[in-house]
Amino acid sequence: QAKYVAKIGHLEAATQPRHKGLEKVAALVKERTNGEVEFQLYPASQLGNARQMVEGAQLGSSEGTVMPAAFLGGFNPVVSVLDIPFIMPEDRAKSQALRDGPFGQAILDSFTKRGLVAIAIWPNGRKSVTSAKPLAGVDSFKGQKFRVMDSRILIQQFAGVGAAAIAIPFGELYTALQTGVVDGQENPLDTISTMKYYEVQKDLVVSNHGAMEDLVLFNPAWWNGLPEGHRDVIVKAFLEVRPQVEALKEEVQALAFNQIKEAGVNVRVLGDQERADWRTKMFPPARDAYLERAGAEGKAVMEAYEAEAKKLGLAN
């Protein structure tokens, strides 16, 4: 019988990389704490929607959650910096350095005063765009209707290229794309494939413009009640499994890419020049929307990002 039990809920299906990663972490933690710490995993929104799971970790009805930054803006405006398009570079090693450096640490720290303990940032793929209309250059966005999640930053990202941003619930998106309520959407390739959006879309640009970053969050009371040795074990396990999650994600993305291509969708990978065009138009309005919401704290995090980006030799 475990001494410390954590109910950990998340949004993905049990077949997806995040859950597989969590299973690995759970096994490592169990082994290295001699069975004293047990993670009970609840995939597929079993414990509620995104908001309920985060509230649950705050109030202690569950002990932890692994949640995409995109769902956390309401709880902590600082973390929305990760929603800004092109914030993470194409280079995976440099992205890793960003997560591990002062920028990543500032994001983790910002959760403390919001009643949560954030111990790690996990990569969970990059978003690409699909549409029923041609996506030739950056100008072809003009006048198209794209579905976005409820987020002011993502709305500004599409406004930057002259596209209309429409909020449609995830569950209704397939039908909305099929009937043409919206023209296109943005999601990681494996989501586009699992949700079969490619069945109702014509063009795919593998743009990797937006990073999907997961925050590993715990309830402070539970976390602080653990012996320090156990806390170290848990943090190390999450960091140790992180490359495996990323590799698994890349693997399913590659599979998804082939599946989408074979289904007859026009696919192309965003070139360097065009990438720069997209960034020039999308980044500034999204960043401004972020700074407006996240205030002085956001400004400090943005400065930490710029300093790191300079060190890593990233374009700004």
């Binding site: 049990a14 009805s61 699992t194």
Partner: protein
């Protein structure tokens, strides 16, 4: 303890406690006895969360639109049209109910919304044609189920997401299964029509029919706008429900001048009371589903299945029984997210086709909407048509049995679900 709580719930139910207490009181006792360490404010969170769901919005809008049309004249005009053109056929209005619920439900995607939108029109006509009240209520509640099977279907989309199955293949299979179910209902309607000796109305003259068409031109705008608007991509199903409200207001207030501002406020208030009665049960239901999740019942089921070493025939039977029981108490989507991650791997390991399994699960979930005591369709029928829920339940049994018969056929004849998807190359 679980058994004691079930007995308590049954006791509260038969004594005439409000349903929200029947479900709410045992849930709170479960929290106190089974999960003593859980902070109790989570109860408030789960209850608000149960109504704060975007995909449920079609229900209030369709309730309001249907009430407006029933208080005005659109409903009457549309039903006159149906009667004059189909009333002379044996079982005409009964079959019309099945087909119109199927057609409407398929696009709007929500069984309760279908009941709300069509029930107020169809029920008086069924009774006037000579069908028993409880048969009419049961027929409406049951026919609306096809909404979940015939594409587009959010239920099948959720299944696809949880299991990685092709949406298009599931949709094709859903169409086949939905049609089989509708045919089974129509067969039952034909049987009841004959047994009860319900005579068709005399054939309307050509002039009468023409007059009915003329009188209902604006009323016909309603289905045209809703179905056309959804299919051509002007709006989503939920938005279509709100557009239906706007169209009803436009036609009844401005063109026919049947409703004044005071009438509209009165109708809005009445619709709101219906919405309250339904949604508070969704709120308490989400609490109930949460405690079922925390009890980790699926894990226990899984251990049982492993111990028994069952084959696919027995497995499907067990799943059917489990889902039927779960469906009596928990709402459809919760059942799916709670149970599927545990049982889907078992199904594939036994060699069951994922498409076939998806349709078995989906049909089970449809049945869950109409099995007492907790069946959302039952509550919507009762509340939207202002009929005692006992009458609805008394009328639903033949349809539940018809459903179970269809379920067994679908379970043990996989090709019904998979033939069409295979034909389309999935």
């Amino acid at each position: 303890m679980l058994i004691l709580l079930c007995i308590l719930a049954a006791l509260l139910l038969v004594l005439g406690f409000e349903m929200l207490l029947v479900m709410g009181v045992p849930s709170i006792l479960a929290r106190l006895t089974e999960f003593p360490n859980l902070p109790d404010i989570v109860i408030a969170q789960k209850m608000v969360g149960g109504v704060n769901v975007g995909t449920l919005l079609a229900i209030p809008f369709f309730i309001f639109a249907a009430d407006l049309m029933a208080h005005g004249t659109i409903a009457e005009r549309l039903m006159n049209l149906v009667k004059r053109n189909l009333g002379h056929r044996s079982g005409g209005i009964g079959h019309t109910t099945v087909v119109s619920c199927m057609a409407f439900g398929s696009v709007c995607g929500s069984a309760p919304a279908t009941v709300a939108a069509l029930g107020r029109f169809l029920h008086p006509e069924l009774v006037r044609a000579g069908y028993k009240e409880r048969f009419s209520l049961g027929l409406i509640a049951a026919s609306a189920e096809c909404a979940l099977l015939i594409p587009p279907s959010i239920t099948l989309l959720v299944y696809a997401w949880l299991t990685g199955t092709s949406v298009a293949a599931l949709f094709a299979g859903g169409l086949a299964v939905g049609v089989v179910l509708a045919l089974a209902f129509m067969l039952y309607v034909a049987f009841v029509t004959r047994r009860a000796g319900i005579e068709p109305a005399p054939r309307a003259s050509a002039a009468e029919r023409f007059e009915a068409v003329k009188a209902s031109l604006l009323a016909l705008g309603m289905p045209v706008i809703i179905l056309g608007g959804i299919y051509s991509g002007f709006f989503t199903a939920t938005e279509a429900a709100a557009v239906a409200v706007a169209y009803a207001l436009l036609v009844e207030m401005v063109i026919y001048r049947q409703l004044g501002w005071r009438d509209v406020m009165h109708v809005a208030e009445q619709s709101a009371l219906t919405i309250v009665a339904i949604f508070i049960l969704l709120a308490v239901g989400s609490l109930l589903a949460y405690f079922v999740t925390l009890a980790r019942l699926p894990d226990q089921l899984l251990m049982l299945l492993n111990d028994w070493q069952v084959n696919w025939v027995v497995f499907l039977l067990i799943i059917n029984v489990v889902l039927l029981i779960a469906g009596m108490f928990i709402d459809p989507n919760s059942i799916m997210v709670i149970l599927l991650p545990a049982i889907f791997p078992v199904a594939t390991a036994l060699g069951i086709d994922p498409i076939h399994f998806g349709l078995v699960v989906c049909l089970n979930i449809c049945i869950g909407m109409i099995t007492p005591p907790f069946g959302l369709d039952l509550f919507v029928t009762s509340s939207a048509l202002r009929k005692p829920v006992e009458t609805v339940i008394a009328g639903i049994w033949p349809f539940v049995l018809t459903n179970i018969a269809v379920l067994l056929v679908i379970s043990y004849v996989p090709s019904i679900s998979t033939a069409l998807p295979r034909l389309l190359g999935y």
